[in-house]
């Protein structure tokens, strides 16, 4: 079943068209990778899924994006509720300059959880699901900024999980991390797909090959090819995709 589905999605920043007629299904409980050279519109595309592009003045959209069957591009969409269901991890880990615990409780408190016990449980379960609990359980009141880069990124994942989203968008989540921290995040992504749907943007083709079920290759704002990851990597239909995945350009 498709949890997200874009139909002829185009997007303009001011007068500059950045996405062209994207048609892309995202299957529930899968990992979908979006690959492509930088500047091709990968971030722009996934930021449509939680309407983060709203923050940029002058963004225009045409086409539809169905989330659970509802078009989320409509102006009357409850954006806050959408973002609660669609979490996001950014390229550079961006924990708040607060304690580890406050980072996790931020979202639940925002959405009305007040009971301390419940909050404590959320802190522990989110950190566990982000495979971080054992490392930080003695430092819950330490500043999040005192964690290592990889830990910070996992903290951001835990923060996103704290409000029980359905989809997790990751925008090049490992591009600022060392190989060991990267491996941990990849492992985590694979675990997460049991319960969540993961859409990840990556620069790194091996990573897409390793973790994703579906892969979309974007080029100059268009979705050049989309399909099962194995097909994209082993028998791409488009010449461009073939050249990109074999590392001959990009």
């Amino acid at each position: 079943m498709n949890i997200i589905e874009t139909n002829d999605l185009s997007l303009w920043y001011g007068n500059k068209q950045t996405l062209f007629d994207i048609n892309m299904p995202i299957k529930k409980n899968s990992i979908t990778s979006i690959i492509g050279p930088s500047g091709c519109g990968k971030s722009t595309l996934i930021r449509v899924f939680n309407r983060m592009n709203d923050l940029i003045d002058g963004t225009k959209i045409s086409g539809t994006v169905l989330y659970d069957g509802n078009n989320i591009c409509r102006p009357d969409t409850d954006v806050l509720a959408l973002r609660k269901r669609v979490g996001m991890i950014f390229q550079k880990a961006n924990p708040f300059p607060m304690t580890v615990r406050d980072n996790i409780t931020y979202g639940p408190k925002l959405h009305g959880v007040k009971d301390q016990k419940e909050l404590d449980e959320i802190v522990e379960s989110s950190l566990r699901r982000a495979a971080l609990f054992e490392e930080v359980k003695d430092r819950l009141n330490a500043s999040a900024l005192s964690l290592s880069g990889g830990q910070q990124q996992r903290l951001c994942i835990a923060r996103a999980l704290s409000i029980e989203p359905e989809v997790i968008l990751m925008d090049e989540p490992t591009s600022a991390l060392d190989p060991i921290a990267t491996a941990k995040i990849e492992e985590l992504a694979l675990e997460l797909k049991e319960n969540y749907t993961v859409v990840t943007v990556t620069h790194n083709m091996q990573q897409a090959g390793r973790i994703s079920d579906y892969t979309g290759f974007m080029y100059l704002g268009r979705l050049e090819e989309f399909g099962k990851t194995r097909d994209i990597f082993e028998s791409p239909k488009s010449e461009l995709t073939e050249r990109y995945v074999s590392g001959r350009f990009g």
Partner: protein, 676 residues
């Protein structure tokens, strides 16, 4: 300062740089003479810094020395705690003055902090770029209006207005309330601009992270941005407090100056008297060498200690919070240990209790003044009960509508403040314009200022500005260059920086007392133009140093490196590359400082300015008339001179506005040209 950097020119040249083709280095003779210039330049720059630092020490020494008699005869403890201040009957207990100073300042911050912060949030989150581009320079302009003009307007507009609003509570209108409101309005610009800068500096990634979790913009601002900007906002508040503590003219004109502690302590309708006002009011009557004279210096010393303490705490705090933003530091760990025994729920409870107390206390204090203690308790309880109600309401209407409500209220606040300022300016313009004519400007005052014009005061102000510029520009710019380019991070330099910062926070009336004790009395110059110029120069020096240092340091590093790589000596690089490139910033800061000097009253009222002066001959050692002092004199001593008061205020303000406009044009020009 290490011996290497005084001598070596080659030290500026990267080791592997190709210098073979550079002509300057192939002439041994010129090479040597260039080193000498280098040395001399550095020495001169350093001397400027040493001079500035020495000023602070001399101020402290002179003020302390002059207060010795009071210390000996009265005793520090008795002076600080004594309840009666009545120099006529020989009673010198300063407690009511100290309390008055804190009350007026505290009240002004209680008012200016929420309003200023709200306006900063509005400018940052809501205002369109175009509105922002109007509001920010407007802030600067309002910061530049002389304190005596604020005092005058306060007296002419605000005090009667307050009397109308609270007829049963205000006998004369002049009151703690009037002082705090006026000081608050004066503190707004700095609070707004510094807080907005720090809101703007919060990384966008924090905002994104919060919005991605489903927070509204307002929730994000409240829960993430404000928390991260806290160090900057604290800096803004403390800067505001430091200024307010040392403010003289505006406060003195509207607080009523009664040396009694309000009864009850929060009775904002009572008159109060501040340290600064006592000094300014009584100094003209105090006989040099008398106990009274010495006691006034003692007040100045107390004021100076308070302001120094406040500013030091501020700097400490800012530094600490800044460190905290980056990583966890010792202070953090200590705090964590302190609160470790508290569970999360206890912490929440403590927080909630604090919030309730914060709502209850002011509501009680204010309402009890009107309807007695029990009524006050009732109103306070009602206000506190409003908290959970408003929480419930906001949950019911949802975050989006909460946001629009909050932004609407912020917008109303901005509009209200702008309206108040517009009234201030409008009243001056409407009443001042008819008073202004060529005769008014070009003729001397007559009939004790009831009629006639302001020509001698205009001339005096121009002379003061010119003299101040002549003295402060070279000193300030040299010091700024030295600190930016030559000073390392040694102990001595840190100390010097601290001294300059302290000098920057020193109340202007302290400079006035220093000028009086050194130039007027010790040097025997009496009131003189040159005395006023020197005093004002010392006052603006730290600002010029700071802006110069900032402007020079803002020049991109590659420019310096390019010049050094071509074999240019350091001084050559500084004088031929850095200075021209940073001239825009330097001159802007300089003009703004002169604008401030022109409007100052407190530093010149004991060193240079007299109410009337008949001869029009020019002598450096003659006393002068000046616009701000003239305005003060007319407003407080010459009833019935209303037209001339407004005329003087308008002329003074126009001069300041012209200077500000010039400064912004220059800044704009240079920014366009250099692009950084």
């Amino acid at each position: 300062m290490t011996p290497e950097d005084t001598v070596s020119v080659s030290g500026d040249i990267p080791k592997n740089a190709d210098i073979s083709g550079i002509d300057v280095c192939s002439h041994p003779k010129r090479f040597i003479s260039r080193i000498r210039i280098e040395d001399r330049a550095k020495l001169i720059l350093m001397a400027a810094v040493v001079f500035t630092v020495a000023v602070l020490f001399f101020i402290i020494i002179f003020i302390s020395y002059n207060s010795l008699d009071a210390v000996k005869e009265i005793g520090i403890w008795e002076f600080l705690t004594g309840g009666t201040w009545s120099p006529g009957s020989g009673a010198y207990g300063a407690s009511s003055l100290i309390v008055g100073t804190f009350l007026v300042t505290g009240g002004s911050i209680l008012f200016a902090l929420p309003v200023g912060l709200g306006m900063a949030i509005y400018i940052n989150d809501v205002a369109s770029p175009r509105v922002r581009n109007i509001l920010k320079p407007a802030c600067e302009l309002f910061a530049g209006i002389p304190s005596v003009v604020y005092g005058f307007i306060g007296l002419a507009v605000m005090v009667p207005f307050l009397m109308d609003v609270f007829p049963a509570h205000l006998n004369y209108g002049t009151s703690w309330l009037a002082g705090s409101l006026l000081l608050g309005i004066m503190a707004l610009p700095i609070i707004i601009s510094v807080s907005q800068d720090s809101l703007e500096a919060v990384p966008g990634s924090y905002r994104e992270a919060s919005m991605a979790l489903g927070a509204t913009k307002w929730e994000t601002t409240r829960k993430v941005v404000l928390r991260s900007a806290v160090s900057g906002i604290a800096a803004a508040v403390i800067l505001g407090i430091g200024r307010a503590l040392g403010e003289t003219m505006a406060v003195m004109m509207v607080t009523g100056n009664s040396a009694l502690i309000p009864e009850p302590l929060w009775n904002i309708f009572d008159m109060v008297r501040t340290l600064t006002a006592s000094i300014a009011l009584e100094m003209p009557e105090a006989v040099h060498g008398s106990l009274h004279f010495s006691a006034l210096f003692m007040l100045a010393l107390i004021l100076m200690v308070i302001v120094l303490l406040v500013n030091t705490v501020a700097r400490r705090m800012v530094r600490r919070t800044k460190i905290k933003m980056g990583t966890e530091k010792a202070a953090d760990v200590r705090r964590r240990r302190l609160f470790a025994p508290l569970s999360e729920s206890h912490k929440e409870m403590a927080k909630t209790a604090a919030v309730y107390a914060l709502v209850f206390a002011p509501a009680f204090m204010i309402s009890s003044l009107f309807i007695g203690t029990y009524g006050g308790i009732a109103i306070g309880a009602l206000a506190a009960a409003g908290l959970p109600v408003s929480k419930r309401i906001s949950r019911a209407i949802g975050p989006n509508r909460v946001q629009s409500t909050v932004y609407l209220m912020l917008g109303i606040t901005v509009a209200a403040v702008l309206a108040v300022l517009a009234v201030f300016l409008g009243v001056i313009a409407v009443n001042g314009l008819p008073a202004i004519s060529p005769e008014f400007i070009f003729s001397p005052p007559s009939n004790s200022g009831l009629s006639g014009g302001i020509w001698p005061a205009v001339i005096g102000t121009i002379e003061l500005a010119a003299g101040t510029a002549l003295i402060s520009f070279p000193l300030g710019v040299c010091s700024g260059i030295y600190l930016s380019q030559y000073a390392g991070d040694t102990r001595l330099i840190r100390l010097a920086r601290q001294a300059i910062d302290s000098l920057n926070g020193t109340p202007s009336i302290i400079f006035g007392l220093f000028g009086m004790s050194l130039l007027v009395i010790a040097f025997g110059w009496g009131y003189s133009l040159v005395g006023g110029c020197i005093t004002l120069s010392l006052m603006v020096l730290p600002t010029i140093i700071k802006t110069t240092e900032e402007a020079v340091s803002a020049v991109p590093k590659d420019l310096t490196e390019a010049s050094a790589a071509m074999g240019a000596s350091k001084w050559h690089t500084v004088s031929k590359v850095l200075l021209p490139a940073s001239m825009g910033g330097v001159i802007t800061g300089f003009i703004l400082s002169i604008g401030r000097a022109i409007g100052e009253t407190a530093p010149i009222m004991f060193t240079a300015a007299v109410a009337f002066r008949t001869t029009s001959s020019f002598s450096l050692l003659d006393p002068i008339m000046a616009l701000p002092y003239h305005l003060y004199y007319l407003a407080s001593e010459v009833p019935g001179s209303t037209a001339n008061q407004y005329g003087t205020a308008l002329v003074l303000m126009m001069i300041v506005i012209v200077l500000f406009a010039a400064a912004s044009v220059i800044r704009y020009r240079y920014r366009k040209k250099t692009g950084w």
